[in-house]
């Protein structure tokens, strides 16, 4: 019984947060600074997800050549920069990671 209470309350709160600003936005004038700030949500959030995935190995920061995900990630960043192709970026990152794991 307890788990259902937790799931329903947690679900409602999660939905409420997802809905909050989508609902409120049409109802009042949004300041210009905030509008501008919102453009930085994608690069900021995505980088905040990407960086720890690359820099951490087994729970600690690993700035070494032995950190295969960091090397593969850097390769993917280069390919993304020049190709602007999602598919090529993913293939490049995966291939580099698999090759490094085999070495």
């Amino acid at each position: 019984m307890n788990i259902w209470l937790i799931m329903i309350a947690g679900g409602l709160i999660t939905f409420g947060m997802r809905f909050s600003l989508i609902y409120l936005f049409g109802r009042f004038e949004v300041p210009e600074t905030m509008r501008r700030a919102l453009h930085y949500v994608p690069p900021a959030v995505l980088s905040a997800i990407i960086f720890p995935e690359l820099f951490f190995q087994n729970g600690s920061i690993a700035l070494t050549l032995a950190n295969t995900r960091l090397i593969a990630g850097l390769a993917a960043i280069l390919v993304a920069w020049f190709s602007k192709s999602t598919l090529l970026t993913i293939i490049a990152g995966m291939v580099v990671l698999l090759l490094l794991q085999l070495l």
């Binding site: 307890n2 937790i6 679900g11 939905f15 909050s20 959030v45 980088s47 997800i49």
Partner: protein
């Protein structure tokens, strides 16, 4: 093909690389929830009631540890606070929709649906059917999340004693897809500074609990980007 359908399919297609990373994640969740002592029904339904990966892992784990309900609920809230940022970021693009659409799209608003959609919206600008893109991305993720949860529940015995899955780095498809999305956006100094500062703070603050490091990092990146842009624009008026 109608415009709505075209946008829906484009959203679903943009979601495909992310689904590769999400599928094993959903399976692991399903298996872990069963191991934590949840019933099959509860484990499966959590994927549609909460529909938020990391908070589902946390909930399963904390339930297993017999944590008080209030603490678990509060933890779910903190882990999911970042969705308010996504809500704010997408809000201008969805402001003219009916309340039904807003409710549906809010329910489907996850990290993985947000990312391709906002990238598409910032690139393509305003058009009438663009909410179908988010719907396509969000729905395909929802569908795969339910299926992968079910597979994880069914294969629980197999998954918990299997090292082969751990050797295949499918989870790496997620950061790779995010890299493919974020790099083309880095067109000026403010964007690059925003991304780098957020990444740096995310690494330094990674050990904070409940994804607070992620929120701190995102806020840092947003503030740095906005400040640099304002400096530039106020500089040019002098």
């Amino acid at each position: 093909m109608s415009e709505a359908r075209k946008n829906f399919l484009e959203g679903a297609r943009a979601e495909v690389p992310l689904l590769i990373g999400v599928f094993p994640f959903g399976m692991i969740y399903g298996a872990l929830a069963i191991n934590a002592g949840l019933s099959t029904t509860a484990a499966q339904l959590m994927s549609s009631i909460l529909f938020a990966g990391s908070s589902q892992f946390v909930t399963a784990q904390l339930t297993h540890d017999v944590t008080p309900a209030a603490v678990i609920i509060l933890t779910i809230a903190v882990v999911n606070v970042r969705h308010m940022l996504y809500s704010a970021s997408l809000a201008p693009h969805l402001k003219d929709l009916s309340i039904k659409w807003k409710i549906l799209l809010s329910y489907l608003l996850t990290d993985e649906a947000y990312a391709p959609s906002i990238i598409n919206y910032e690139k393509e600008g305003i058009h009438t059917y663009k909410h179908w893109f988010l719907f396509g991305a969000g729905f395909s993720l929802w569908f795969i999340w339910q299926i992968s949860t079910a597979v994880g529940i069914l294969l629980v015995g197999f998954l918990t004693n299997n090292d082969i899955l751990k050797a295949i780095p499918l989870d790496f498809a997620l950061p790779l897809t995010f890299i493919a999305m974020v790099v083309p956006v880095l067109k000026n100094r403010a964007m690059i500074a925003s991304a780098l500062s957020a990444g740096l703070v995310a690494v330094l603050a990674f050990s904070l609990p409940y994804k607070l490091g992620l929120i701190l990092a995102a806020l840092t990146g947003i503030i740095i980007g906005t400040l640099l842009e304002e400096k530039k624009s106020s500089g040019s008026t002098l």
